[in-house]
Symmetry: D2
Subunit: 383 residues, 4 copies
């Protein structure tokens, strides 16, 4: 094993959800050390959070600017290698730009930025700096999602015709409690962007459909709804899709699907077979055939190299959300190590979501909103 | 028990699928006797089929006109009480009209007719004759579908917001074999109508959504596809929906969803709870709640009067497709018996699908095709 | 089709459960006509029940002796062909003997008799009369159970090593209500026999294990329990088993498994593969393999001739308990028709459970009770 | 957060399975640092393994004696706090004794020792040293197992009557490959003990039954089998059980259940309700009731404090095997921290399996073997 990589974190302080998830994911393989952080936009809260997390005082920063400046001054073998950005959406862009311009690789929660313009600008900065940008589209980290991608790529399902992807949750069924920090920023256009539900989770669904099919969403026909009175952004959305390769599909997301937990599911049908995967039982991949019994592939089974490389335990020892998340981190870490050696460290080479996924994801969100506001049936996605 | 009702059948001879299903369904409760039939449009095949079914020669007819004429001449306590029409779609209208005009009640496979015009005409004839018309939308015959309808009607889910209904099959994934009688007529506009997949199974899905929600599909935005080259009608369709009561929804059907069997599923979400039902495991109804564990209602359990009246066996003794079908027949039989006594025998009173469902179903099929052909996003369903 | 067979029924009057099930099962295929009955041991109740069922007065009998005597006197083409016995257990033997001795075939609910001695005597009478005796071990009527039997017989699982069969219900969790007719007779040694739970449902489980494996239970080590105070018979039982062919196994039944419905499940493992079937989702048969993904066989799929012959609807149109029951009836009817033609009509030839199953089943029940009462570990089953 | 605890490891080098699992589990929460190790009984392999794992040379030891000696000499704030033992079974006892006697807490893979005698001796040493001993009975680390224990303890199921626990695997269906290190030591009495399957996985099943029920296995009636010719230990076992509190039950384990992965399941039935949990879908806990619909509790839902304290992610974000394992580690870490502060650090207080579980587990394994070898039906477990 090469030495542990050093990670800093921006955001993810007290009361946050996704910050803790990133820390679990980074810790799991014992290959990353959290060495510093600026854990909140409020300096006092930032420092208190870092203290709780056991960050030494001298690397527990009141803000991200201070952190980047201070870390830059440290000797190379001491300073952080990359920063994890886990703030609300509106801060992704400024923090990522500052990090890259300070010479640090970035791994960022999704969506990449607040809007498409920022995403394109960020893409240029990534290109210019030659540094790495990873985007934590968690769900593509699951072994059986990777197996699904490989099966499609190998042509086992024949030519894909239909993709149905859905991400339903119920936690915003009622008006958000002002004390619920998660709900508050996610339903606020200033911190979340032009879309609520579709930006937050519809974007995961779209990304999953594209990852598994290796095809691109080209046209959309969308209807977004705000079911809860007073809410400023959509809490539900549905769209018909046309994808490259002649695929038709459905994209559906809701945060008012009362009683649903985190119900991301995808089905894809080709002219030789079909597949089905459900995030809540992530270790099974159902394959359906024309004249043969359906089969259930399992994490840890006799799977493709792609899936196996992202599997930690034998069949029947369930892997979960944190392991999927950790796969994103691990693949990103491998890329950072390759970058240090001057080797190809691209998202394609190391199978992690990058800035291209970020730009395209923002384009889809904007297209969904534009389609909703249009009377034309089909709108072309431009990214 | 009152005396068994006497049934005649038109269609359903050798090589047919749905005719046998109707016969099983009619036989199950021991309340219906199959006394006569004209089992094919080809006289020789009709007679051979009837012979195989044990129909006495004198009531085994070469054609439906002969049957209606001959049965009319029999004494009232001998002649058939009603006719079951199980022909390809294009014959529903002429046979139903002839039956009603000859004084016989009709139970007819769906869709009611070949097109909306015929359906409206048939509706007028039903009204004029005062006779009964039942339509075998099988899937609303399942006990747990009835339980779902009752739960929604009782407001247990609060105000419905979202309905997602899907009916996927895979049996037309490849080009139909010219020897497959089922495939042949279902993909032929002359015998099937203006839509293939949406007419055949999308119509069941739409009916199920309306039955469970007690609301109506008002607007549609549809995309139909013919994936298999050379096929004349759609083999796949998907639509966004707006229903009465402010409900948004998705309607999806496919006959090229490779590996799917008969995958009719529905989910409905209100502001207090959600439900999920899957035809392939029809004895479970999943209820999902905001802050309580999900529950699974079961056929034969402590259910509503509506469900219990349509249940034959105790919990854990699975009921299936034929029992659901038999419920349509049994409720229709109860209505015929009420009609004989001069009592109210309407579909509403006896919970069976009638001509109104038939007209509305045809309107939806036409709307789906029209929407598909339009660049406008939303099209209003007029029935 | 040959003419409908004529059936009489003993038992199954008002308040009964299984009588109605037999009538549904007999009616489903339209090949059996219920022509007469003695529906209760109480003459008035018998007559009232028959009237409700639409039996004509002249063939609605106050008792089974009267019925057999009167039917014998009818012309051959009018009198009943066979009798269905659906009384409590203690009446199976006297009614079956009387029927056979009066020249009528018998189809009888299980267990065959009240004890092993009666079963052996009945077996001799069946042999002497040359008439047919069918036993409604319903669960072997399911298509996927037949598929399982065929798969094992074909050696696809290799040599069987382990069989785990379980039948759990919860409906006797609390002390039986004296108004619950079902509970009353099933927990009474006079009407039920020496075992409660094991006799009622453990016997089904044992039969299923032997049917699927084509092997015999040879040794048992049992522990029976009466959990509910005051109950006279076991309401729970469990046993280790040794079967022919070197198979080891577990047999478990309970009627106090609170919250279970009718949870009959079986698993069998050989040295090449394993299978799993669950009665509550009877249309799936799971096959498990050493180094290949598990497969799910489905009713109506590309199955063996044995399963297909017992299937009525295409894949995805669920068959249930009544269809399985009807398969027992239909196979028995085919045997009766063969008997009329003087052909081989044995249980083996027509795949229905016969008196041999009845004798062996009673031997197993007695062995379970004897093993429970012994301090020896293993007890040999002698039938 | 207090400072990270320092962990050493014995065993778990190249080719091992469970060592890596312990390292993942220890790393996940970022509260433990792996500082040293003696990763194999072969010195060269030990050193090579440690190098791969990034252990600094000066703390990468050729053997456990060297490690304990060297670590003792380090300053208190530098030396390891506890040692994780992940060797084959026969080394658990000598390594644990040496560690405790050198002043180090121990967390040990199960079973605690090679036999009951060693376990009792080890128990005395734990008591004498006053140090902590944790045993990684992983499966009791799952949140929904803890929820199950709490539900039973709260009396929600009433008085328990029946417990059925099963642990089936298929990976030893065929004769073990001599190159499969896992198979080799697990089927060798010298490294594994007197029982193969029951020692390896039956012990987990027994522990789970006792943890959830809060009752003790008192009597056993067992049948063990070696199905694969030439294998020296049982590869399959089954037993009837009597537990304290009047519970009857079944304990079943197999490693030749062809096609099973890691199928640990438990069901428990009381006089008010029942529960079911399956390790392969560990985030659901099914509750079954007498007259109410079954409910499904979910990890991250509205659960007990006990379950919630062992949950990392919200509902619908599946937790898996490594998280369950990490819960054992985390609770052990909390106990070590309490011990440092001189507070109560017992297994009961911190909900981790301790030496008592180890002794009792060994007693059960011995009882299973003794019962198998006896013709007496019931054998009492003495621990």
């Amino acid at each position: 094993m090469t030495k542990k990589l050093k990670m800093g974190m921006v955001g993810g302080g007290q009361g946050a959800f996704i910050g803790a998830v990133h820390r679990f994911a980074a810790a799991l393989d014992g290959e990353i050390e959290l060495v510093c952080g600026a854990f909140s936009s409020e300096p006092n809260k930032a420092l208190a959070s870092g203290k709780e997390l056991g960050i030494p005082d001298n690397r527990n920063y009141p803000g991200f600017q201070e952190m980047f400046a201070a870390e830059q001054r440290l000797p190379e073998n001491e300073r952080m290698d990359f920063v994890a950005i886990v703030t609300p959406n509106h801060m992704h862009f400024p923090v990522a730009c500052a990090a890259l311009e300070s010479g640090f690789h970035v791994i960022c929660d999704k969506p990449a930025t607040l809007n498409l313009g920022e995403a394109k600008e960020l893409s240029a900065i990534v290109a210019n700096t030659g540094l790495l940008f990873g985007l934590t589209h968690t769900y593509t980290g699951y072994p059986m999602v990777k197996e699904a991608r490989q099966i499609v790529a190998d042509g086992k399902l024949g030519n894909l015709r239909k993709v149905i992807v859905e991400y339903t949750q119920g936690w915003l069924t009622e008006a958000e409690d002002s004390n619920n920090k998660q709900a508050a920023w996610r339903t606020n256009p200033k911190t979340s962007g032009i879309s609520g539900c579709m930006g937050d989770i519809g974007s995961h669904a779209a990304n999953l459909a594209e990852y598994i099919s290796s095809e691109t969403i080209e046209q959309l026909c969308a209807e977004l709804t705000t079911f809860v009175p007073g809410r400023l952004l959509d809490d539900d959305g549905m769209a018909l899709m046309k994808m490259s390769g002649g695929i038709k599909g459905i994209l559906h997301a809701s945060q008012v699907a009362c009683g649903e937990e985190n119900n991301l599911t995808i089905r894809a049908y080709g002219d030789k077979g079909g597949l089905e995967w459900r995030q809540q039982e992530p270790n099974s991949l159902v394959l359906k055939w024309l004249n043969e019994p359906m089969q259930i592939m399992r994490t840890g089974g006799n799977n493709s190299a792609l899936a196996t490389a992202n599997t930690r335990t034998p069949m029947g020892h369930p892997e979960g959300y944190l392991e999927a998340f950790a796969n994103i981190y691990r693949n990103f870490v491998l890329a950072v190590q390759a970058h240090k050696l001057g080797k190809n460290s691209s998202p394609k080479a190391f199978d992690y979501p990058g800035i291209e996924d970020g730009v395209h994801g923002m384009a889809i969100i904007e297209s969904l909103v534009n389609s909703h506001n249009s009377n034309e049936k089909w709108l072309t996605v431009n990214s």
